[in-house]
Structure formats: structure tokens, C-alpha cells
Symmetry: C2
Subunit: 167 residues, 2 copies
């Protein structure tokens, strides 16, 4: 099994709970801050997917594996373990043969599901605007670069014209 592979057990360190309006300024300075760790965990590549998929009905390991498709068994296992450890997903092993394991959201996980769906929905709703913004940005960048190149070439031409032949 080796090491625990996670440093969360170092210290409690609540890192200052909401005293003013926005304590955002603080949940980054200390890397042992719980909020940062949790945020990094649930906002990671696969956790979002798993939580989003685990709505209402429970799913088997292989079902999740097929649904996510890009994921490796290793990553799915790790992700599910983390979510289980955080109390967001429950793991039920049916002692049959072949074995069958079901995963489902805990009540806590269900509350997070709502928020995550909101994030996903926002992304779906605004992907058009973002795509447009990217296109515009890239166009501007390309134009700028081309202008810079032309300008340099022009300077070069003038220099060649004015300066005496080196040697």
C-alpha cells in the first residue's frame, strides 16, 4: 500500500473562516488550507464528470468506465476513492461472483451535484460566446504579429538602403 499518498493529514488548520465579507484573500496563502485542497479535488478533470453522472441512480464501476470513455481504470478508481473518502460518494460491494460494486451520491454529494450542474450548465450556455471570444482574440493576435513582421521588414529595407555596405 505504501504511503497515504496525500498530505491532508498534516494539520487541521482551518485557515480563518469567514470573518468579513470576502476572505478570499486568505484561502490561498497557506497551502495547507482545507478549502484549497477540497476545491482542487472536486474541480479536477474527472471528479466533475463522475459527480455530474451520478445523478439519482447508482452506477456500477464498468458503467461509469464506459460512460466516461476517455478515463483509465486507474484514474476512475482513484477518483472514486477520493470522492468516497470525502463522503461525497458511497461504495456498495455486492458479495456475488463475479463481484459487483455500485456507486451513488451521498446526501452531501447530492448538494454538491447541484452546484456542479450549475457550472456545467453555465459552460454549455456560454460556449458560443467563449468560442467567439477565442476566435476574435486569435485574429487580433495574428494581425498584430503580421504587423510586427511587416514593420521589421520595412525597417530592414530602409537600413539596407541607407547604410553603406558593410565590410
Amino acid at each position: 500500500m505504501g504511503t497515504v499518498e496525500d498530505g491532508t493529514s498534516k494539520s487541521p488548520g482551518y485557515c480563518g473562516d469567514t470573518d468579513g465579507d470576502y476572505d478570499v484573500l486568505q484561502w490561498d496563502t497557506r497551502e495547507d488550507c482545507e478549502v484549497r485542497q477540497i476545491l482542487d479535488r472536486i474541480a479536477d478533470k474527472w471528479s466533475l464528470l463522475v459527480i455530474a453522472l451520478l445523478d439519482r441512480r447508482s452506477l456500477r464501476f464498468t458503467e461509469l468506465r464506459r460512460m466516461i470513455d476517455g478515463i483509465s481504470q486507474r484514474m476512475l478508481t482513484r477518483t472514486l476513492r477520493h470522492l468516497e473518502r470525502d463522503g461525497l460518494v458511497s461504495r456498495t460491494v455486492h458479495p456475488t461472483v463475479p463481484p459487483r460494486v455500485d456507486y451513488e451520491l451521498t446526501p452531501l454529494g447530492a448538494t454538491l451535484h447541484t452546484t456542479i450542474r450549475a457550472l456545467v450548465t453555465w459552460t454549455e450556455d456560454h460556449q458560443g460566446q467563449i468560442a467567439a471570444a477565442r476566435a476574435a482574440f486569435d485574429r487580433r493576435a495574428a494581425a498584430e504579429q503580421e504587423a510586427a513582421v511587416r514593420e521589421a521588414a520595412e525597417r530592414d529595407a530602409i537600413a539596407r538602403d541607407v547604410l553603406p555596405v558593410r565590410r
Copy 2:
């Protein structure tokens, strides 16, 4: 400048927009899916912080740098460029000397800010429950492992007792 460093310019590929209730099953299969890319982008380590910090008032580069503290100038620059490209943050250069650059949320970025705050708030509100869940999980795991070790030791003792002395 080198390559664009991002493969998003490959193809439009909307990957099927909400036809049924949940099209979650689809925004993962094709890795050229826009939603996945956008999600990975805004959910990354620093973007969440920057967007959360950029509420109402605009901030200078160095202000952000000091606030986030753990971040390197390289990462802050990259993050801000990405957000600018996605149309979430606007970049204003004041032609003074020394130069001064202000960043602020665009209207689009402001809408995302709301959702992100919701996520952060959820995390702040439930960090206690999560910490408790982790502690319980770790305790169970430790107990299981200890049980396994004891069991193995017991089997070993029996084996030593029953089996004839080898050689």
C-alpha cells in the same frame, strides 16, 4: 512566440447541444468537445482564484501576484492570457512609465463569477463535514489494515505450530 500552444483551433464540433434532459453522457466522449476544454480551463488550479479575486474592482498584475502568493509570474501571466482569450477578463494597458496593466472581469466573466462563488461557498460551508468524512474513512482504513496484519500473523503462528520443522 512559437506555436499557439493550444489545440482548440482544430474544429468547431459542438458535440451535441442539449437535446434531452441530460446530455452529460456526451461531453466527454470526444476530447475535442468544447465544454470539456472550457471546464478544464476554468476549473484549473489558478483560474478559480483569479476569477474569485476579480470581483467588482480591477486589479493590477502585481496586486494579483501578491494576493495569490503561491503563484509564479509565469503561471499568472498564462492564466490571465487564457482568461482574456476566453473573453472572461479584460486587459487594459496604461501607456505610462513604468507601465501599468489592469485586469477586470468582463460582463461574461461576471456571470461566471457568480457560479464560482457558489462553488467556493459550498466548499466553505461543508469543509467540516468533509474533514469528518475523511477522518472516518482513514480510521476505517487503518482498522482494516491492522485487522489484516493480525489475521496474517495468526495464520502464520498456526502454520508454524502445525507444520513440521522444515529440513
